[in-house]
Subunit: 760 residues, 2 copies
């Protein structure tokens, strides 16, 4: 099976390669059906096209969102022109002056190029040309960047990744002023700057370039885009297929601890497109990096589509790039913030420039989905090119429709067989359930973890990363050591830690070999959205099986979350199970002691970062915790027995640099236990306004939840509300299919149903 | 002097009393010049008037903000009518069902009454009548409320305060349906409900009614408003002047620890109007309670103005009520949230219903200030009466102008001689400096404390109260014990604690006798806003003298705050000086140890609630701390020597019920020190966006600050920025007048100036 897959992929790549070589030779004879081809029409042709420029000029002043974006860009570039060009000798990390200046420069190269095309004002072309010549003069003799931290140091920046960013944008600027330059000028720039630049980030840094990784995607796109502008077939081939004999050590790792060499030796843009995206468009590193990677994927694909339409890049892998945009938008909360799965910085959202690119390009090349127009309206800016024009016209013509997010299940893995991520949605509630693969070097050890949102507010949080991206004083803006010692560890997540150790012992080599397995998901019923998956490798000998449901129940004010974590093991263990609630504790129903002195919960695997604020013995039936956050009440009710312990913890121990956020959790602990069921309900209820000072519905509506049955075949949980209404949820532990018939007697009641679960 | 004041006030009250008695007798003979008098015109006459009803009906459908408010009210009342009337037997604390239900009822009595008048639909009158009769039937035999916590238990509610709320609103409802009822029906309601109700909260509870306190203001207004509706001269007299022989013990205290008996024996509405408001309209308990008290003050005053215009209540004390509205609006941040001085719950704002009342009434009776219209626009609702109509018409006619908040100094005390509160404003920065009197029972022990805001975000916070108002599960929604053990204590504030003890030993009896003293304030210069005050009684033998300035300096991106706290004492002490910054630590420049185990900073006076997260020795020159909050960077730079200690603390120790917010502070400590100067600059600089991931100007612009001179006459501080520009600020410690001439030689420089301070 595994071998077959490899063979198929290799074959596909070969066919593509042949097709490409053929198309290169035959490009002038064959006529593309794609009318957007501008291959033979001179420059610009890459992103903005000659035909696009004409249309834009004709519509200017009559396309509000485009006009407004253009005005902003003009003001920005004019201010930079007034400031003068500076290309300082590289010296700093992210956040430092030389880094920030070169970063700003590449944005200017692109923007000024576009302004030249759209406004037909030579001052912009001259600015781009002058900056390029300044770079060319410097680049020839530029040594490797003095900061030595990266596994792949750049020249303008401390890592090749940022150099690649530069070239992706600079290529667009070059394309825009290509015809403004004389052949001699172009010759100088290409010889002194663009070709050596492309070579440096590729053949001189294969450990960066020849990987399946978001870094490499940037590298590939950079080389490919300058290749398309320069019409350099050899560079384009290198962009699409990588370097053939890279000489890389198969055990080498990057700064994040990720393997460098792809186990199957794949490299280049097409491999990068093949590998990290699942058929559903989920990117294995998670939405934060998917957002980052989308820019080179889409911008280079659009360039390929414009210059080499015969490659049909947007149809590749059944249209995976366009699906990826849709998947990414669905991986955002009600405010458009991406769920911070794996290494994700909170607050990154579909308002980012990468998503402006993604939405505009997906609109133009993905069948003009009117839902994307409403996202673009919120973004309130567009690309200053053909796709931005299309968006602006769509909005102007009143075609925008709401982008409706529904419950989605997104498979992980190149073939969609390596677990996945589900988002359950019901009214304002969103539950993000992660049963995915490791997520490459940016993955966290958090099998079957979840997070919960209400209307864009976190109720149960995923911590995200431990990093302040681009804030120089925080470790150069790079990953902090707490990212490894805390953020990646299992105890930092809302899932089970066994015997105080992270999943896979916190080892990337082991974690990378495994993924959780979907049992079923069912979004067909408006009242209840369910997903169920299990994990058998995080702790050998132990199986974790978690079922999560968001349930609309007329006896409750709002939908609630039902969470059933069933653990079976071949030996007795300690199970620690935290819920990282956000907000102020309102009420508890269990007895606890609060120590006068706060001590850490443990010594390693992230436990060293948690202070114990309270500790108590659980009740015989249920433990309850209510809290208030952002004007809403929430209550966790969980089945316990009086052998269980309950901890209230707070993040922030062993944090000498104050790199962590001091946020709370409730943690359940079962000790000396082989098999266990953690069954919980999380309610969101009522509201509080400090202006009206009204507390509405501030109490839980649940009298009791109970595990009424649990064996190898079935687990059943009953939920009783304050009015005495009782509901039963049963999940089949063996046969999850939709068609299976089930019959189960619990006490005096017989339950009979067809399908993956029972709820009534 | 003190005796003279008393005599004058007594005389004034007597004259008023005589005038009132005269006016009662003569009311039919004299014709008022105030055209709004509706005294002789039947009902309604209290808040909405017969003439007002006619005008409103004529404009309906044509006054958008009024129409929208009316529609909301109608939907709300219709829903309640559909639900049916419930007047449950009183049982619960705030937040419990019976409390919430009776509270909702009184709002309905008022709203339904107004709807009856405006819409001329009898169903609303019948609803009000039916509810009144239900209350009348119950009230006759109703015992005192079963909850025993209050010093003045109500009948419908656990405290007389809430019963008074009921009567203030119910009076308005009664006025609206007065003519709908038969004389017999009115007789029944007045005999069984309104009169005994008014007697219960007044003569049966003098300890509640006969005070100078916001509670009593509600009581007085309640009795007065029902008196005006019933035309009951005796009750009205009791409302205006209190109960004559109340038999109260002069040492008795209320639940908050405040004295009950006014030392000068004053009581009644006019005394309440006289005493807590300063001539500038500052209310001594602080803006949170001012907001609460404004409703009865203004609504009863409007009623008096309508029914007894000859009292000229709005001209009382030089128009203090209207000044109070202006003062209160100026005590809010850029978002309209009130500064949480003393016991203030954060988030309370000018969007509250009390401020809708205040703004509408102040507009109608205060010369139609167009700035108030812009606040009303933000509030987006109006009173459904004559004043609301005036606002709605003003907005409709496009007369709204921005309400411009400027730097203000508001004196405290009935005569404006008991210190005060200053708000320094410059661009987006606001500094709130408190040098006021104790603030009655809601006061905190925080002489010369301050808080700092940027564009509505707290930079250096005032903790506010320790209470979750109306959230039942948090101590019945009442004050928590941490309010006394933490929130009121000096160490909870951004000022000096000497030898680990709160100001005035944390004793109300002592604190109430004193106030800080203003040295000067100067807002005349656009570049620099300054205030300076001293406190000589918080610690006998020690003088605290604090000067705060907000300075616009072209060499800095934004204005910064200069803070000079000069301490002189007759003996060596320990001075602890915290800054409660909000946000994530970015950078420090001093060495510290972070303990593995967190211990409390001390055992009492609030110290028991602080954990020590880090401790270190200060640098010889300056200690710096930078933090990030809500996308902005801030840096505190403070002059230190290497004998000083620096602590990073976190609130939350000894907090078994999780009643406190776990927020940080930097605390400076000087030990064994007699005289000291704490000189600091707080910068707000740059920005960070998690969407663009750009960190702009993330570093402090200050190289060094230094105390270059300090003696009995002058304190001088120099501030040097990164570019080497140096500024000097000098404050005269003896002669603060604007006219004084000064000359001071420091090292080789001679400084010469006229006025309270020098800055260049």
């Amino acid at each position: 099976m595994e071998l077959n897959k490899k063979a198929i992929i290799s074959a596909c790549l070969s066919v593509l390669l042949l097709g490409f070589v053929f198309s290169c030779k035959a490009q002038n004879e064959t006529s593309s059906k794609n009318t957007q081809s501008s291959n033979s029409g001179g420059h610009p042709k890459l992103i903005i096209t000659k035909a696009g420029v004409e249309k834009i000029r004709a519509e200017l002043g009559n396309i509000p969102i485009f006009d407004a974006t253009l005005k902003m860009a003009q003001e920005e570039v004019d201010a930079e022109i007034a400031l003068g060009i500076d290309t300082p000798i590289p010296k700093d990390f992210s956040g430092g002056y030389t880094h920030v200046r070169h970063k700003r420069n590449f944005f200017m190269l692109e923007k000024a190029g576009l302004l030249y095309q759209i406004l037909d004002d030579e001052k912009y072309a001259k600015y781009v040309k002058d900056m390029f010549f300044q770079y060319a003069a410097m680049y020839k003799d530029l040594p490797v960047h003095p900061q030595t931290r990266s596994y792949a140091r750049g020249k303008l920046f401390w890592q090749c990744l940022n150099d690649s960013n530069w070239l992706v944008y600079a290529s667009q600027g070059y394309d825009c002023i290509y015809e403004y330059l004389s052949p001699e000028e172009r010759e100088t720039l290409e010889t002194d700057l663009f070709k050596p630049f492309a070579d440096y980030i590729s053949i001189e840094n294969p450990q960066f370039y020849n990987r399946v990784h978001n870094h490499s995607t940037w590298g590939n796109a950079a080389v490919g885009m300058i290749a398309l502008v320069m019409d350099d077939a050899e560079l384009l081939h290198r962009a699409l297929y990588g370097i053939e004999n890279d000489g890389l050590d198969k055990n080498a790792k990057d700064n994040d601890g990720g393997f460098i060499k792809d186990p199957e030796g794949r490299a280049g843009f097409l491999a990068n497109l093949e590998e990290p995206f699942s058929p559903d468009g989920y990117y294995t590193e998670g939405p934060y990096y998917q957002r980052y990677a989308m820019y080179p994927f889409l911008i280079f694909s659009e360039a390929l589509n414009n210059v080499k339409p015969e490659l049909k890049i947007f149809e590749h892998k059944d249209g995976v790039l366009l699906k990826a945009v849709d998947a990414l938008l669905n991986l955002s909360d009600a405010d458009g913030d991406f769920f911070p799965l794996n290494d994700g910085q909170k607050g990154m959202s579909y308002y980012s420039k990468e998503l402006v690119t993604a939405v505009d390009i997906a609109y133009l090349h993905g069948g003009k989905n009117a839902g994307l127009l409403s996202i673009a309206e919120k973004q309130n800016r567009v690309l200053l090119d053909d796709s931005g024009l299309a968006i602006a016209l769509g909005i102007k013509n009143g075609e925008a429709k709401p982008f409706e997010k529904k419950s989605v299940n997104l498979s992980d893995g190149p073939d969609g067989k390596q677990g996945g991520v589900a988002v359950l949605r019901n009214d304002d509630l969103e539950v993000v359930f992660k049963y995915a693969a490791q997520g490459l070097s940016h993955g966290h050890y958090d099998k079957l973890s979840f997070s919960m949102y209400e209307n864009g507010q976190e109720v149960i949080q995923d911590y995200g990363l431990a990093r302040f991206v681009n804030i120089e004083q925080k470790g150069g803006g790079n990953y902090l050591k707490e990212n490894k010692t805390w953020a990646k560890q299992t105890i930092a997540h809302n899932t089970i830690t066994q015997n105080g150790k992270s999943h896979f012992q916190g080892k990337y080599e082991i974690g990378s070999k495994h993924h959780s397995v979907l049992d079923f998901y069912d979004f067909s019923n408006d009242q209840i959205k369910v997903v169920s998956a299990h994990e058998a490798n995080a702790y050998p000998g132990t199986i974790l099986h978690r079922t999560m449901a968001v349930i609309s129940d007329k006896d409750f004010e709002k939908p609630y979350v039902l969470d059933i974590m069933r653990v079976t093991s071949d030996k007795a263990n300690q199970y620690d199970f935290p819920y990282y609630f956000l907000g102020q504790v309102m009420e508890t129903n269990f007895k606890y002691q609060t120590p006068e002195v706060l001590k850490p919960l443990g010594a390693k695997h992230g436990y060293q970062h948690l202070f114990v604020e309270a500790q108590g013995q659980a009740n015989q039936e249920n433990v309850k915790l209510s809290w208030l956050n952002a004007g809403r009440f929430h209550t966790l009710t969980t089945v316990t027995d009086n052998q269980d312990e309950v901890f209230l913890t707070r993040i922030g121990a062993a944090d000498p640099e104050f790199n962590l956020r001091k946020e709370p959790a409730l943690m359940l602990r079962k000790s000396q236990t082989k098999d266990a069921v953690f069954a919980s309900v999380i309610e969101s209820h009522g509201s509080y306004s400090p202006v009206s000072e009204n507390a509405v519905n501030s109490h839980s509506n649940i009298t009791k939840i109970e595990v009424i049955h649990n064996d190898a075949n079935y687990t059943a949980v009953s939920i009783m509300d304050l009015q005495g209404h009782s509901k039963v949820f049963i999940v089949s532990n063996k046969t999850a299919s939709k068609e299976a018939n089930h019959k189960l007697k619990i006490h005096d009641d017989t339950f009979q149903w067809t399908g993956s679960y029972y709820f009534k």
